[in-house]
């Protein structure tokens, strides 16, 4: 009941989001004609001829970017509840958050100066 009342829109969103791909694939399977040929089995790559293997290694830099993303993501999670209460918390809350952010901005400065944000 608690979930149903308050979270009904969220549940509805999920239902719609699930329904769309299920319907699209389902209708295509039922309605669409099935003509298999050599051309059909070739991997599709935006109309051009496929080049190389699909299972190619990603650059490790993606990983670094994802790592940095998680750290900043967690920071954002910490900041959000404070932002909601910003007006009530007043100056003291602001100072507390300033200390928190100061330490983290130092991290950002460090990352920046070390060139970890550059793709080179």
């Amino acid at each position: 009941m608690l979930a149903a009342s308050k979270y009904a829109p969220v549940v509805l969103l999920f239902v719609i989001a699930l329904a769309i791909p299920v319907l699209m694939i389902g209708i295509a399977t039922i309605v669409g004609p099935r003509r298999l040929g050599v051309k059909k089995k070739v991997p599709f790559e935006c109309g051009t001829e496929p080049i190389g293997d699909t299972r190619k290694r990603f650059s490790v830099r993606f990983f670094l970017v994802a790592l940095l993303f998680i750290v900043f993501d967690v920071e954002a999670v910490f900041i959000f509840p404070w932002a909601v209460l910003f007006r009530q918390l007043g100056l003291f809350g602001f100072i507390e958050m300033a200390v928190f952010l100061f330490i983290l901005i130092l991290g950002l400065v460090y990352v920046w100066k070390k060139g970890a944000l550059e793709w080179e």
Partner: protein, 496 residues
Amino acid sequence: MANVESLRYFLPELLLTALVLAVFLVDLGLKRKKVPIATLMVVGLLVSLYAVLKTPGAEGVTLFLGMVSLDPFSVFFKVIFIVTAVLVTLFSMESDEVEEKNFGEYMGFIAATTLGAVLLASSNHMLMAFLTLELVSVPCYVLAGYISRSRRSSEASLKYVIFGAASSGLMVYGISLLFGVTGSLSFEGIRDALSAGNPGEIIVLISLIFILAGLGYKIAVFPFHMWCPDVYEGAPTPITAFLSVGPKAAGFAVLVRMLHVAFSSSDGAAAYLTDISSVDWPFLVAIISAATMTIGNLLAINQSNIKRLLAYSSIAHAGYLLMGVVALSQLGTQALLFYFVVYLLMNLGAFLVVLNFRSQTRSEQIGDYTGLAWRSPIGAFVAVSMAIFLFSLTGIPPFGGFIGKVYLFASIIQGERFIWLAIVAIANSVISLYYYARIIKVMFLRGIDAEDLGGFVSSPTTITLLTILAVGTAVSGIFWGPIARWVSHSASLFFG
């Protein structure tokens, strides 16, 4: 105490935080790093050591609404951590395993670990204990893998991370189970809930086992010791020395505080605590202690790499140290603290010899120590220092390790319940004599005509540090009164 008033008592931690930030910032602006950053570290650490000793209210107050407590016990461990960090900083200057361009972050991580350890030793709340345990662990993961382009070092780091993540997970689960039955996360709150009603001893026992898994990993006791030899072998030598003392002491500090505050109640008799909620955790810890020292010592016998041997030796020592926890008395806690003072001197000393030997010969094999005493006058000095450290680690009089072990055995025998543990420990000391003596034998009795191996030299800093540590190890075995008074003051807190 409320948040703002607490700041006055929190100066050492604030200084350490400032040191962490300063080291990372200064690192950005410098090309030649080693000397300025090490100087900054030593000065910063000594200033915060001074602040630790001068901070008022050391008679026991809780700060930040009960998150941490400031008392002689936490002050004792803060001193241990900061002294260890100073020594490791100096060791790192002597080592060539860390490249100069990465030296800044390396020092920053040591400072951050020290900050975490200082907070962990004073944690009075499960949330704080977990958070600071992570603050101790995360920099150590990176430090263990710090030798660039070394597979062994990367492997050490990876093993450390995976073991660490698994045991942290278990620990959080244990804390959540405990919260579910006590409704509290502060150590006092858990004690009050456990002594008020019986919430089901099985679940308390299970949660305690899970929490012990998290802490047992940090102090490397059986069955959470497997990472230890690989990590100690792969990590840069100064970091191995650091890991074997700093984080281990931090784990013990929080273990003692948690077991003595959250899981024990004062029994009227001033010097003893009894365990509560009918969970017999002293028995559990006694078994872990016996298993840890036996496995550590037995596996040490066949090691040929000296860092691995010292890793197993440090596992065995964690087993001895747990005896002080098992005793659950003032004498037991005193013995534990006393042993940590001596352990710091002798273990760091032994690793300094390993470091010095490595920088001279590029070898960590025990066989290569052959005839060290006869290679040069300095070689003789280093060999004699090493012999002092190893005899002390074995527990042979007149060195500090002997007095430390006497205290530990006495506390167990005084408790009367776990006499068998004292017998196991004595048998283990005999085993340990075998493998420690093997190194001494190789250094002194072999290769007496070893001059063709070339001279052996040490830097003046190494010689000074070795002298201080060796003299400290020897003197603490003869004039142990001042240390005993200090630890007795520091341990009095949980009793009466």
